[in-house]
C-alpha cells in the first residue's frame, strides 16, 4: 500500500548502491555507469556478458567486481580504448571496470547535453537492441562513435550541428503518434526527442572511448539471491508463512491489491491431491483432514502426498510432455515402439525417488557417458530417443536423421535454457543472442550419438515371469507324471534318457508324435492327455526381453559437423565443433573435445543464469496454472517477462540451495500462503475484473486430459493403481483407429482397462481422441504448457464416452445399493465422493428433482440403462455430477 516503503525494500533487496564509485582495476580511473531500468525497477550487471567478451578477447585481464554492487544498477557504458587494430576481434570491446554514478533517472537538468548522462541511455534502451554490432539492422550500429559516423544502408544518420540534415531525427519524430523508429514500438517521448535534438545541435559529441552495450536480456543476467522483503504490511488473511509470501505480498502492497482469503480445507485438500498426484482425495481422507485442525495436519498431508507413488506419475507426466514421449515412431508407418514405456517408468521412479534435478538431467542427456553407467542411467538417455522418426520407404534417411538432431537441440534449449534455439537453425536468431554457428555447435554434441537398444528387462518382469513359470511348471510336472503312466513297460535306460531330455526341455518338444513310439498309445485317455500336453507346452511363458531405447556415443567413423546453410543439411557451411552459446558462461569441458556430459554439467554451472530460473518456473507453473514467466519455454526477448522477478530469482537460488530437490521445492511452494489462497475470482469485492498476474488469488483451471480420466476412475472405484509398466489400450471404435495405416488396437483386458490416462498407448498418427479433445500434446515437439480449451466436443466426451459412462454406472449402482429407498442419501454420497464436499441445499434439491424425474421417464420407457430402474436413475445422477465444471476443475 505504501509505494515508497516497497521501493526501498526492493532496492535494498537487490543490493542497490546509490553512491558507490567504481574504479578501473587496470588504471584506477573512475568509471561512470548509467542507471537503466528494465521495467521491474531493478537491473543488474552482466558478468556473463563480460566473460563472453573476455573469452573472445583473451588479452583482457579478468574483471573484478565490487562485492556488493554487482546486482545493482545496470552499467552499460564502458570507457576503455577500443582495440580496433585487431581486425578479427568483435568490435564490441570490453570494459575492465564499471562504476555506478546515478540511481535516479535524470532529465536534462541544464541546457548542456552530456552524452553519457543524457543520450546514451536513450540509445541503449530504444535503439541498440537492433542497431548493434551483431545485428546491424539496416546496416547501422549505434554502439560507438565510428560506427555511427559510418551510417547505415540509407547513408549517414546524422550531421553534427545540423538537425534538419540529420536523417536520424526524421526517423524518430512521430507523426500522428507513430514514428518510423523504434520500429514497431512506441515512439520516444518528447523529452527524449528534445535530448537527441539538442545533442545533434550541440555537435553530437561522443567521446572516442565510450562504447555502448546493447541492452541485456533480463534472463541472461546472473542470478543473485535477493533479500527477502521484511517490512511488508500484510492483511490478517495472508500470513507470511515463508519468503515466497513476503515477495508476493510486496507486490500486492505495491499495486494496492488485496489478497483473497485462504481457501477452505475441502478445496485445499482436493487442490493439493490433484496437484501432487493427479488424483482426487477419497471422501474419508477429506473428512479426516477437515476434522484435524492441528497446525501440522497440512504439512503432514503434503509429506504424505509427496511420498505417494502417484506423485511420480503426476510430475512424471509433466516431464513426459517436455520429453515429447510417445509409443510410436510418427510419420507414415508410425510403427510401434514396444519398449518406449521403459523410459516412462524410469521417469516415474526417478521423480518418486526425488533424483535431484541436476542428476536427473545429466543422466538423461549423458547417462551413457558417466563413469561405469548403471542400466538405469542408460535407460535415462531415452529422453532424446523420443523424437519422431520417419521410416517411410524411399525416404531421405540423412535428412530425417538431421531433423532428429535439430529437434534434440531445440528441445534441450527449451527444456533447460528456456531458449528458442530453433530460430537459429537456418539463420542467426532474429531476437535472441544466438548465432546460427552456435546452433550447430550445440548440434555437434548430438551428432555422434548412436541409437542403441539396451537389454533392460525390468525386475518386475522377471519376477512376474518367474511366478508364471512356477505355475506352469507345476502343471507341466503333473502332466509328465500322467504321461509316465503310458510309458511302454520295457523301456531301456537309453530310451528313458531320451524321454527325460525331450520332456524336460520342452522348447525342443514340438510334437508328441516324435516320441510316441515309446508310449502305449492305444490306451484310453492317451489322446486327451497328449492334447493337453501339447497345449500346455505351447503356453509356456515367454521369457521377457525388453530393450530400452538409449544413446551410445559413436566411437568409430565419427561425423564432422558443419553449419547447414539456410538449414539445408546438404549445403554444408563452416565446420564447427561442440560448443555453447557465447552469451552464456563458458563451457568447462573435461577434455579438449567436449561431450554431452560436459554439456549437461554446463547447464548446472553456478554461473548459468537460465537453468535454475527455467526449472523453478516450471514447478511454479504446475502449482499455479501459470509460471512467473508465462512463456515457460521462452525466456528470450520474445517471451514474457517475469511477473515477480525477485521471487523468481530467490526461488532459483533456493532450488540450488536445496540441492535441486524437486520435492523440497514443491513442498516449499505448497506450504506458502500464496499457494493456499482461494481461487474464486469474486473472493475480493471489486477485484473480480483484475487479472491475476500479481497472484492475489490462486488460479482455477480444468485438470489435464489424463486427470479427467483419472478422476472418473477414482470416484467410481474402478481405478487400477498400478504404476509404471507397459501402456494400455482402452476400447476405441474402429472408425477412429482406421484413419491410420494398419493400426492394430488390441483392447486391454481386465483391470488394465482402468489404468490411469498417462498409460494410454500413444500412437502419434492415431492419438487417443479423448486425450486430444482435452488438449494433451501431440508429442511431435516438446510441450512446455498445454492449452486449456473448453469446447462442446469435451462436453460430448464427458457425457457420452463409454468409459465415463461406465464410471457413472459403477458409482450410481454402488450408491443405489448402499442406500436403498433413500435417494437423497445416495445423492449425498455421490456428491461427496466426486467433489469432496456435501451439497448445499439448492444443489441437493436440483439433483433430487432430476433423479425423480429421470426415474419417472425411465419407468415410462421400454429400455432402461444399467438394468434396474433405480440404479439407472442413480447412474443418471452420478453422470450429472461427473459432468459438473467443478468435477473436472482444480480450484
Amino acid at each position: 500500500m505504501n509505494k515508497a516503503i516497497y521501493l526501498k525494500l526492493h532496492l535494498s533487496s537487490r543490493g542497490y548502491s546509490n553512491n558507490g564509485a567504481f574504479f578501473s582495476p587496470e588504471n584506477g580511473d573512475p568509471v561512470t555507469i548509467l542507471r537503466q531500468q528494465d521495467g521491474f525497477g531493478h537491473s543488474a550487471l552482466i558478468p556473463s556478458l563480460i566473460s563472453w567478451a573476455a573469452r573472445r578477447h583473451p588479452a583482457i585481464p579478468a574483471l573484478s567486481f565490487p562485492p556488493n554492487g554487482i546486482g545493482a544498477t545496470a552499467a552499460r557504458v564502458r570507457m576503455f580504448q577500443p582495440r580496433m587494430s585487431q581486425p578479427n576481434l568483435c568490435p564490441i570491446l570490453v570494459t575492465t571496470a564499471l562504476v555506478l554514478a546515478a540511481v535516479q533517472n535524470r532529465s536534462v537538468a541544464s541546457d548542456v547535453v552530456d552524452f553519457q548522462r543524457d543520450v546514451a541511455p536513450i540509445l541503449q534502451t530504444r535503439c541498440l537492441s537492433c542497431h548493434n554490432e551483431r545485428d546491424r539492422r539496416g546496416g547501422l550500429s549505434l554502439q560507438f562513435m565510428r560506427s555511427v559516423q559510418a551510417g547505415g544502408e540509407s547513408g549517414a544518420v546524422l550531421v553534427p550541428g545540423d538537425v534538419d540534415a540529420s536523417y536520424l531525427l526524421g526517423l524518430i519524430l512521430p507523426e500522428d503518434g507513430v514514428a518510423e523508429m523504434p520500429k514497431g514500438e512506441a515512439p520516444l517521448d518528447a523529452s527524449q526527442i528534445a535530448v537527441v535534438r539538442k545533442w545533434i545541435e550541440s555537435g553530437a559529441a561522443w567521446p572516442d572511448d565510450v562504447v555502448l552495450e546493447p541492452p541485456v536480456l533480463w534472463s541472461l543476467k546472473p542470478i543473485h539471491r535477493p533479500n527477502v522483503p521484511d517490512s511488508v504490511v500484510v492483511p490478517a488473511q495472508f500470513p507470511i508463512r515463508n519468503p515466497i509470501d513476503a515477495f508476493v505480498a510486496a507486490r500486492h502492497a505495491d499495486a494496492e491489491i488485496i489478497p483473497a482469503v485462504g481457501t477452505d480445507r475441502r478445496t485445499l485438500i482436493r487442490r493439493l491431491h490433484l496437484d501432487l498426484t493427479g488424483l482426487p482425495p477419497r471422501s474419508e481422507t477429506v473428512e479426516a483432514f477437515v476434522q484435524n485442525t492441528a497446525a501440522a495436519a497440512y504439512e503432514q498431508l503434503v509429506d504424505d502426498l509427496l511420498s505417494s507413488p502417484h506423485y511420480g506419475e503426476q510430475w512424471g507426466r509433466y516431464w513426459l510432455d517436455l520429453a515429447r514421449y510417445a509409443d510410436s515412431e510418427g510419420y507414415l508407418g508410425d510403427s510401434e515402439r514396444p519398449h518406449a514405456w521403459v523410459y516412462r517408468e524410469w521417469v516415474i521412479n526417478a521423480i518418486n525417488h526425488d533424483l535431484p534435478f541436476d542428476q536427473f538431467t545429466i543422466e538423461q542427456l549423458a547417462g551413457d557417458l558417466l563413469n561405469a553407467p548403471t542400466l538405469e542411467q542408460k535407460i535415462a538417455t531415452g529422453f532424446h530417443r523420443n523424437t519422431l522418426r520417419n521410416t517411410e520407404a524411399g525416404v531421405d534417411l540423412e535428412l530425417y536423421r538431421t531433423k532428429e538432431i535439430v529437434d534434440r537441440v531445440n528441445t534441450t534449449g527449451m527444456v533447460w535454457l528456456g531458449l528458442t534455439l530453433g530460430c537459429a537453425e537456418c539463420h542467426d536468431h532474429k531476437n535472441d543472442p544466438i548465432s546460427q554457428q552456435e546452433f550447430y555447435q550445440l548440434y555437434a554434441f548430438f551428432n555422434n550419438t548412436d541409437d542403441v537398444g539396451v537389454p533392460a528387462t525390468r525386475p518386475w518382469q522377471i519376477a512376474e515371469h518367474n511366478d508364471a513359470m512356477q505355475i506352469w511348471q507345476t502343471q507341466w510336472d503333473e502332466l509328465l507324471q500322467q504321461l509316465q503312466q503310458f510309458e511302454m513297460k520295457d523301456l531301456t535306460a537309453e530310451q528313458k534318457g531320451e524321454l527325460m531330455t525331450k520332456l524336460h526341455d520342452p522348447g525342443k518338444l514340438t510334437e508328441i508324435n516324435a516320441i510316441e513310439t515309446l508310449y502305449r498309445t492305444k490306451e484310453s485317455g492317451w489322446k486327451e492327455l497328449t492334447t493337453r500336453v501339447e497345449k500346455h507346452n505351447k503356453n509356456r511363458p515367454v521369457q521377457p526381453s525388453t530393450k530400452a531405447r538409449a544413446f551410445a556415443e559413436r566411437r568409430k567413423d565419427r561425423r564432422e559437423t558443419f553449419v547447414h546453410v539456410r538449414g539445408a543439411y546438404n549445403r554444408p557451411g563452416d565446420k564447427v565443433s561442440c560448443g555453447t552459446p557465447a552469451v552464456l558462461p563458458p563451457l568447462r569441458a573435461r577434455s579438449a573435445v567436449p561431450d554431452r556430459f560436459d554439456l549437461a554439467r554446463w547447464l548446472f554451472d553456478g554461473d548459468n543464469p537460465l537453468t535454475a530460473r527455467v526449472a523453478v518456473n516450471r514447478i511454479w507453473q504446475q502449482l499455479f496454472g501459470q509460471g512467473l514467466v508465462a512463456t515457460a519455454n521462452d525466456f528470450g526477448t520474445q517471451g514474457a517477462p517475469p511477473t515477480h522477478p525477485l521471487l523468481l530469482d530467490w526461488l532459483a537460488t533456493e532450488y540450488r540451495r536445496l540441492g535441486w530437490s524437486r520435492k523440497a521445492m514443491i513442498r516449499l511452494i505448497v506450504m506458502s500462503s500464496s499457494y493456499r489462497l482461494s481461487s474464486s475470482s469474486n473472493s475480493v469485492a471489486g477485484q473480480q475484473q483484475a487479472g491475476n498476474q500479481l497472484l492475489w488469488r490462486q488460479n482455477s483451471y480444468r485438470v489435464s486430459a489424463e486427470s479427467i480420466r483419472d478422476v472418473h476412475l477414482t470416484v467410481s472405484g474402478l481405478l487400477d493403481r498400478t504404476t509404471g509398466r507397459k501402456g494400455i489400450r482402452p476400447p476405441l471404435p474402429a472408425f477412429v483407429t482406421e484413419v491410420g495405416r494398419s493400426v492394430k488396437w488390441p483392447v486391454s483386458q481386465g483391470s488394465e482397462r482402468y489404468r490411469r490416462g498417462m498409460y494410454i498407448f500413444f500412437k502419434r498418427t492415431v492419438p487417443y481422441p479423448m486425450l486430444m479433445t482435452f488438449d494433451a500434446p501431440d508429442a511431435t515437439v516438446s510441450c512446455s504448457r498445454r492449452e486449456r480449451s473448453n469446447t462442446p466436443l469435451q462436453a460430448l466426451t464427458l457425457l457420452n464416452d463409454p468409459v465415463f459412462f461406465e464410471c457413472a454406472q459403477a458409482l450410481g449402482v454402488e450408491a443405489a445399493q448402499q442406500f436403498v429407498e433413500k435417494p437423497r442419501e445416495a445423492i449425498h454420497m455421490i456428491f461427496r465422493r466426486c467433489l469432496g464436499r456435501p451439497p448445499v441445499e439448492d444443489e441437493l434439491n436440483y439433483l433430487a428433482a432430476a433423479h425423480d424425474e429421470v426415474l419417472q421417464l425411465m419407468e415410462g420407457e421400454e429400455t432402461v440403462a444399467g438394468g434396474e430402474n433405480r440404479s439407472a436413475a442413480m447412474t443418471a445422477v452420478a453422470r450429472i455430477v461427473m459432468n459438473l465444471d467443478e468435477f473436472v476443475t482444480r480450484d
Partner: protein, 487 residues
C-alpha cells in the same frame, strides 16, 4: 496484424469450437454473460485483411499422387519417346523413392486426350464427367514441390511443412476466421470407407495451434462424430433432463466462485446438446431428390472384388455430405480418397479411381453451382505430388506398369470461391519432367488460398516457440492468374 493467441483478427467471438476463455481470468465475467446472448444472435462476419471471395472450401484430397500425364497434362512427345532413356543431365540432381536411375525408361500414356468446353481444355478419356464442366475449372499444370515421399508431401500440401506437428490449412482458416457454424464444427475431415491415411489424424491436426482449431473426423454413416450418441439406455429425454440439471448446478457454482470458465462450460454443454440434435440430420439423405442421389452416384454398383469394394458408394456419399455441410455453415471440409499411389498397374488403377471419383466430384461441382453456392465455395482437387514420366523399375518389379513419385511438376485443379475458371495455368516441358512456364509452388498455392478467404498469408501468424509461424513459412507468392478479381 500480428495474431494474438486466440483471435488474430481481434474480434471477440464465441462459436462452436472456440468457446474457451482458456486463459486464466482473461475475460471479464460481465462480457461473457453478455455473450451468452450472442448464442441466439446472428453470426458476425469475421474481420479479414482483404475482401474475401471464398467463404467455404471443399478440399478433395487425392492421397498417393495421381498421375498427371494420364489425367490432365497430355504429353505427345513423351508418347513418342516411350521406351527411351532420360537425358542423363536431367537425372543428376534428382532423388527418387524407388526408381533405379540407370535403367529407367520413359513411359508414354495409353490414355486419349480430347478438348472440352468453350475454353478447349485437354482432358483424358478417364474423366468423362469432369469434361463437362471444364469452363468452371482452373487447371494448374505447373505445381511443384520438393517432397518425394508420401507423408512429407502430404504434410507439405496440407500444412505447408514436411514435418509433423504443423497446423493444417483448415486449422489456419478456423484460427483466422472463427467458426461460422453454431451446431457443427467448422473444420471437418472424412476418409473413404476405412482406407487409412499415412498421416492418420495429423492430416487434419491443428499442430501447434490450440486444439479447438483441429479438424473433426466425421464418418458418413451411423453417428457422425465420436461420442455424439447417448450411451445405451439414455434416451433423448433423459439426456435433456440431465443437461438441465448440469447447467442448474453449474450456475450455482458460477454464482459462488464467479470464474468465467464456468460460464464457458455452461455454453459448451448447450452447444453440445444442440449438436446432438442437428448433426444426425446431416446424414439423413431422405430429403434429397432421386435425381440428386443418382447424379452423385450413390446407387452405383461397386464391381471391384478386392478389399476396396464399397468405395464408390462411400466416396459419393462423402461428396454429397460435403455439400450438405457447406450448406450448414461448415467452413472447411477435406475429403480424403486413398490411394492413387500407382507404382504398378497404373492404367487399371487409374480406371478404378476415376470410376470412383469422377462422377460424384462432377456432381458436387454442378450441384454447388446450381444452388448458387459455387461462387463462395472453393473446390480444390489434388494430391501431394504427381508421377514420373519414367516407368517404375523398382528392384523387385518383373514388369514396368506404373510410375514413381514426382513432386517436380504435377497438376491440380481449383473451382469456385473466386477462382477464374476455364483456364490452364502453367506448362510442363515436353516430357512432363519439369515446369516450363509459370511455376506454382505449394506455398504459392497456400498464399492464394488464404487470399481467396481474405487473409494475407504474411500476416496470419501464430507465435510458437519464440517465432511467428505462417502457413507459408517464409515463402509464398500470390498466383494472380488464378483469381477472378486480381489482387
Amino acid at each position: 496484424m500480428t495474431a494474438s493467441n486466440h483471435n488474430p483478427c481481434g474480434l471477440q467471438r464465441r462459436d462452436f469450437f472456440t468457446s474457451s476463455a482458456s486463459g486464466l481470468g482473461t475475460a471479464a465475467l460481465a462480457s461473457l454473460l453478455q455473450e451468452d446472448g450472442l448464442l441466439a444472435s446472428e453470426y458476425q462476419l469475421p474481420l479479414t485483411h482483404i475482401a474475401p471471395a471464398a467463404k467455404r472450401c471443399i478440399y478433395l484430397f487425392m492421397e498417393g499422387g495421381p498421375s498427371q500425364m494420364d489425367l490432365f497434362d497430355p504429353k505427345p512427345r513423351l508418347n513418342e519417346l516411350d521406351g527411351q532413356p532420360m537425358p542423363e543431365s536431367l537425372l543428376n540432381e534428382i532423388k527418387f523413392a524407388f526408381i533405379q536411375k540407370e535403367s529407367a525408361r520413359l513411359m508414354g500414356s495409353p490414355r486419349r486426350f480430347r478438348r472440352h468446353g468453350e475454353c478447349g481444355m485437354d482432358l483424358s478419356d478417364l474423366l468423362p464427367h469432369l469434361s463437362t464442366c471444364v469452363d468452371d475449372i482452373a487447371f494448374v499444370r505447373s505445381m511443384h514441390c520438393e517432397q518425394f515421399n508420401h507423408l512429407p508431401g502430404q504434410l507439405m500440401m496440407l500444412s505447408g511443412s514436411a514435418l509433423q506437428g504443423w497446423p493444417t490449412l483448415g486449422s489456419w482458416l478456423n484460427y483466422g476466421l472463427g467458426s461460422e457454424s453454431k451446431n457443427l464444427p467448422s473444420y471437418v475431415a472424412m476418409t473413404t470407407l476405412g482406407r487409412g491415411l499415412p498421416g492418420g489424424a495429423s492430416s487434419w491436426s491443428s499442430g501447434f495451434l490450440p486444439s479447438q482449431h483441429s479438424g473433426t473426423l466425421f464418418r458418413n454413416q451411423g453417428s457422425p462424430v465420436l461420442n455424439l450418441a447417448n450411451p445405451p439406455g439414455i434416451s433423448r429425454d433423459v439426456q435433456s433432463r440431465s443437461l438441465q440439471t448440469i447447467n442448474e448446478l453449474n450456475r450455482v457454482r458460477l454464482n459462488r466462485v464467479g470464474n468465467p470458465e464456468v460460464a464457458s462450460r455452461i455454453e459448451a454443454y448447450e452447444l453440445a446438446f444442440r449438436m446432438q440434435q442437428t448433426a444426425p440430420e446431416l446424414l439423413d439423405l431422405s430429403g434429397e431428390s432421386k435425381a440428386t442421389l443418382e447424379a452423385y452416384g450413390l446407387d452405383r454398383a461397386d464391381t471391384a472384388k478386392d478389399t476396396t469394394a464399397g468405395f464408390m458408394g462411400s466416396y459419393a456419399r462423402n461428396c454429397l455430405l460435403a455439400r450438405r455441410m457447406i450448406e450448414r455453415g461448415v467452413r472447411f471440409v477435406t475429403l480424403f480418397l486413398s490411394t492413387w499411389d500407382h507404382h504398378s498397374h497404373l492404367d487399371s488403377g487409374l480406371k478404378r479411381y476415376t470410376q470412383i471419383s469422377d462422377q460424384p466430384v462432377t456432381a458436387l461441382l454442378k450441384d454447388l453451382k446450381q444452388r448458387g453456392l459455387l461462387d463462395e465455395t472453393l473446390v480444390v482437387w489434388g494430391g501431394e505430388f504427381g508421377r514420373t514420366p519414367l516407368g517404375e523399375n523398382r528392384v523387385n518389379f518383373k514388369t514396368v506398369t506404373g510410375r514413381d513419385h514426382h513432386p517436380y511438376s504435377f497438376s491440380m485443379w481449383l473451382a469456385g470461391g473466386g477462382v477464374k475458371g476455364g483456364q490452364v495455368i502453367g506448362e510442363t516441358d515436353e516430357i512432363g519432367w519439369g515446369v516450363a512456364k509459370d511455376p506454382v509452388h505449394v506455398h504459392d498455392l497456400h498464399a492464394t488460398l488464404l487470399h481467396l478467404f481474405g487473409l494475407d498469408h504474411k500476416k496470419l501468424t501464430y507465435r510458437f516457440q519464440g517465432r511467428d509461424f505462417r502457413l507459408t513459412d517464409v515463402a509464398g507468392n500470390l498466383v494472380d492468374q488464378l483469381l477472378q478479381r486480381p489482387a
